[in-house]
Amino acid sequence: MKIYPLLTILLVISLFGLLFFQLFLNSGIEEFDQKKLAPFESNLLNGDSFTSEELKNNSLSLLNVWATWCVGCRLEHSYLMELEKKGISIIGINYKDDKEKAFKWLDQFGDPYSENIFDEKGEVGFLLGVSGAPETFLIKNGDSVVMHHMGVLDEQVWNNKFAPLIDK
C-alpha cells in the first residue's frame, strides 16, 4: 500500500515543520494587531472633562497607564521624564487610583504628562483592554491603536516597539 507511507511522511513533516517553524518565529519580533480605539469620555485629574475626540488633533498620541499603587510605574517614571524632555507628549491615565495620592506622587517625582486622565473606576482602561499597570499605548489619528505594551517602558522597549512606528 504505497499511500500509507506517503501519508505518514506528509503528516510527520507537516507536524514537525510547523513546530520547528514556530520555534524560529518565536525568536523574531511579533507584528502588532491593530485595532479600533473605542470612543470614551472622562475627567482629567484637574477636573476638566476629556473625550477621545481630542486625540484626533494629533497624528500620534502616547497614552501611559499608571497608578501610585503600581511598583513598575515607579521604575518606568524616570524614562518617561526623559521622553518628555525629548519633546514627546505623553497623556497619562491615572488608573484606579486616589486623586490626592496621585497629586502627591506627581509633585514628589515629577510630572511627565501633558494631561492626566483620571480613570478612577478603570472604565477607560477597560475599553482599551488594560489589565493592569504600567501599560503604554500608541494611538494613530485618534482612532486606532497601533501599539500596546504591557509592562515597564524602558529604552529597549521604546526602541523595539514604539520608535519604529513613530519614525514612519
Binding site: T8, V12, L18, L25, E31, D33
Partner: protein, 618 residues
C-alpha cells in the same frame, strides 16, 4: 567535587549507552548476558549521578547553578529532595534514571531479545547527550553570588505535586520499552511471540500515566484554589495524548497476542505512543505554548529536543515501512466480533488523541497562517468535541467484553439487549424524577449503568462456568466507569455562588447557609496571610471551612488556598477573593456532588496494575 563526579558519571553512562548500541548493531554478541551487564552499568552510573545531585541539594550546595535556582536553605528536607526535579535539567536527570531503570528491568526479564535494548538505548543515548551538552544540571555558578538561593515555587511545595512528575515519567519512559520491542521485531522478523511483552509493558506505562495525570488533576483541584480539575491546558493535553495512545496500544497488543492480528498496527502504535510522550515533553519545555506549567526554555534547546523526537519518529517509521510484517492472520471479523470491538476501540482512541493534539497545537497553526494573530483553544472546544466520541467509546466498552473472538452473530443478544434497555430506561427515569432533565446526564448515566451491568455479568459468568477471568481488565474498566460517573454528576450538578460577606453575615446557597465567622492572620516559616473561618449549615449539621490567602515573600507570590469540606458524596469548596476592609471578604462557594469519584476511579485504574489477568474461581 561531587558535582564534577556526577557530571563524569553522566558522561560515562552516555558513552556506555552508545557502546551498547554500537556493539549490538555491529557485532551482535553471542553471550546475551552482555546486554544485562551493560544496562546495569548504565543504570548504576546514572543512579550515582542522581545521588550526586541530591547530595548537592541536601547540603545546600549553591555553587551548583541548578541547585541555586531551584532550592532554598529554609525548605524542609523532603522538599529539598524533590526540588531536584522541580526544574528542567534535574527533571531530565530523573527521567534518564527511570528510563535506564526500565531498560534494566526489561533486559533482566527478556534475555532472548537481540536488538530491543539497543533501540531503547538509542532514545536513552539521545536524551543523555542532550542533557550532558545542553541541559547539564551540574553546571557551576561562579562566583557564588546568592547564598540564600531563590525559592521553590510555593505552588510546588506540596506532596502530591512532588510525586506527580516521577509517576508521569515512569509512564512516559515505559513507552520506550514497547518501541524497542517492536523495532527489534521488525528488524529480525522472528516469532510473533516476541511482541508479547508489549502488552504487559503498555499496561505498566498506562497505570503510571493514569496515576501521574490524576495526581496532577487532584493537585490542581485543591491547590490552585478554584475548584477545577481539568483545564485542557496544553501541558495536561500533552500527557493525555500519550495516555490515549497507550490505552489503544494495550488493546491492540491484546488482540495481537490472542489472535495474531493487528500486528503492523500494534507496531505503528508503539511508535506513535513514544512520539506522543517525547512530543509532550517537548511541548512542556519549549515554551512554544504558554501555559501555567511550562519550564520556558530558550528556543535553541527546544530545537534540539524537537529534533530528537523527529529523528526517532523517522527512524521508527522508516523501519516500519521498509520491513512491515506481512504474515499476519486474517480471521473472521464480523460486526459482532471481539475483533471489531477492538478495531472500534483503537479507531476512537486514536481519533481522540488526534483531536486533542490538533486542538493543542492549533493556536500555533493559526498564528503562522494568519500572520501573527493569536487565538486560544480551551475547554469549550475540547469538551464539545471530545465528549461525543468518548461517550460512544464507553458504550462499546460496555458491550465489547461480552463479545467473542471470531463471533459472527450476537452471541449474547439477550444479555446485551437487556443491559442497554434497562440502563437507558433507568437513567431516563432518574434524570426526569430527581433532576431537571439534561441530555448529557441521561446519556452519561445510561452508559455508566451499562458498564457496571456488563462487568457484573462477566464476573458472574466466569464464576459459574469456572473459566478464567481477567481481573485486571475488570478493575481497569470499573475504575473508568466510576470516573465517568463522577465527571457526569459533578459537572452537571455543581452549584456555585459568588458573594461578599461581613463578619457574622450569611448568605443562602440552595437549602444551605454560609456564614463568615472570623478572619485571623497566619504566619509560617516562608509565608504569611489571612485565614477565614466559614460555617456551612446544612439541614442537620454545621461544617467548618478555612480558606486562606497566602503571601510568600521569597518568591513574591500570592496563593489562594481553598477551604474544602470533602466527603464521598460531595465537596463543599470555598475560595477567597478580595479582602474588603478589615473583616469582609469576597468569596466563591461551590458544591460539587460526587467529585471524589473521579479520583477514586483513577486509583482503581492504577491498582489494576497489581491484579492478575487470569484468575480462576474454584
Amino acid at each position: 567535587m561531587i558535582p564534577e563526579l556526577g557530571n563524569f558519571l553522566l558522561i560515562f553512562s552516555m558513552i556506555n549507552s552508545l557502546l551498547l548500541i554500537s556493539i549490538a548493531l555491529v557485532f551482535p554478541p553471542k553471550d546475551k548476558r552482555f546486554f544485562l551487564s551493560a544496562s546495569l552499568v548504565t543504570f548504576l552510573a546514572i543512579f550515582l549521578s542522581f545521588i550526586a545531585l541530591e547530595i548537592s541539594f541536601l547540603t545546600d550546595d549553591f555553587s551548583v547553578l541548578y541547585v541555586a535556582t531551584n532550592s532554598n536553605p529554609n525548605l524542609p528536607i523532603y522538599y529539598k529532595f524533590a526540588a531536584l526535579w522541580g526544574g528542567h535539567e534535574g527533571s531530565l536527570l530523573l527521567f534518564l534514571l527511570i528510563l535506564a531503570g526500565w531498560i534494566l528491568v526489561f533486559v533482566f526479564f527478556h534475555r532472548d531479545h537481540k536488538h530491543s535494548s539497543a533501540f531503547m538505548n538509542i532514545v536513552l543515548f539521545a536524551l543523555l547527550s542532550f542533557t550532558v551538552f545542553l541541559s547539564n544540571p551540574f553546571e557551576r555558578l561562579l562566583p557564588i553570588s546568592s547564598i540564600s538561593g531563590s525559592d521553590l515555587n510555593p505552588l510546588l511545595q506540596d506532596f502530591a505535586f512532588t510525586i506527580h512528575p516521577p509517576m508521569l515519567y515512569m509512564g512516559y519512559a515505559g513507552l520506550v520499552i514497547p518501541f524497542g520491542i517492536a523495532m527489534n521485531f521488525l528488524l529480525n522478523q522472528e516469532k510473533v511471540k516476541q511482541l508479547a511483552p508489549i502488552r504487559s509493558w503498555s499496561v505498566v506505562s498506562w497505570s503510571f500515566l493514569t496515576l501521574g495525570i490524576s495526581l496532577g488533576s487532584w493537585w490542581a483541584y485543591y491547590e490552585l484554589g478554584w475548584g477545577g480539575w481539568w483545564f485542557w491546558d496544553p501541558v495536561e493535553n500533552s500527557a493525555l495524548v500519550p495516555w490515549l495512545l497507550c490505552t489503544a496500544l494495550i488493546h491492540s497488543s491484546i488482540a495481537t497476542n490472542a489472535r495474531q492480528i493487528f500486528i503492523n498496527w500494534t507496531i505503528a502504535l508503539t511508535i506513535l505512543s513514544l512520539a506522543g510522550s517525547l512530543l509532550g515533553m517537548f511541548l512542556v519545555r519549549s515554551g512554544i505554548i504558554t501555559s501555567v506549567h511550562s519550564f520556558a526554555l530558550d528556543p535553541d534547546r527546544g530545537i534540539f529536543l524537537l529534533l530528537i523526537c523527529f529523528v526517532i519518529v523517522i527512524l521508527g517509521f522508516s523501519l516500519f515501512f521498509l520491513k512491515s510484517y506481512s504474515k499476519g492472520l486474517k480471521t473472521d471479523m464480523g460486526i459482532y466480533s471481539k475483533e471489531f470491538m477492538f478495531f472500534i476501540n483503537n479507531a476512537f482512541l486514536v481519533t481522540l488523541s488526534a483531536i486533542v493534539l490538533l486542538g493543542t497545537i492549533y493556536p500555533i497553526i493559526y498564528e503562522i497562517f494568519s500572520g501573527g494573530d493569536q487565538i486560544t483553544v480551551g475547554a469549550p472546544y475540547f469538551n464539545m468535541v471530545t465528549i461525543p466520541f468518548a461517550l460512544i467509546l464507553l458504550f462499546f466498552q460496555a458491550i465489547g467484553p461480552l463479545t467473542k473472538w471470531g463471533g459472527n452473530k450476537i452471541d449474547n443478544l439477550n444479555s446485551i439487549g437487556m443491559i442497554i434497555l434497562s440502563s437507558t430506561a433507568l437513567s431516563y427515569l432518574v434524570s426526569n424524577i430527581f433532576f431537571s432533565f439534561s441530555f448529557y446526564e441521561f446519556v452519561g448515566n445510561a452508559i455508566v449503568l451499562m458498564l457496571i451491568q456488563s462487568l457484573t455479568l462477566l464476573v458472574f459468568k466466569s464464576f459459574h462456568s469456572k473459566r478464567k477471568i481477567n481481573l485486571s481488565m475488570i478493575a481497569g474498566h470499573l475504575g473508568l466507569a466510576i470516573l465517568t460517573f463522577g465527571i457526569t454528576i459533578s459537572s452537571l450538578n455543581s452549584v456555585e455562588k459568588e458573594f461578599v460577606l461581613q463578619k457574622n453575615e450569611s448568605v443562602s446557597v440552595g437549602s444551605s447557609t454560609i456564614t463568615l465567622e472570623n478572619t485571623q492572620t497566619v504566619q509560617e516559616d516562608n509565608y504569611y496571610g489571612d485565614r477565614v473561618t466559614f460555617s456551612f449549615q446544612e439541614e442537620d449539621r454545621v461544617l467548618k471551612l478555612y480558606p486562606e490567602r497566602r503571601f510568600y515573600p521569597a518568591s513574591r507570590m500570592e496563593t489562594t488556598e481553598a477551604g474544602i469540606y470533602p466527603s464521598i458524596y460531595k465537596d463543599v469548596y470555598i475560595s477567597l477573593g478580595q479582602k474588603i476592609g478589615e473583616n469582609a471578604w469576597a468569596a466563591k462557594v461551590q458544591i460539587k456532588p460526587l467529585v471524589r469519584f473521579i479520583w477514586l476511579g483513577a486509583i482503581i485504574m492504577f491498582l489494576a496494575l497489581f491484579v492478575r489477568t487470569n484468575i480462576k474461581f474454584k
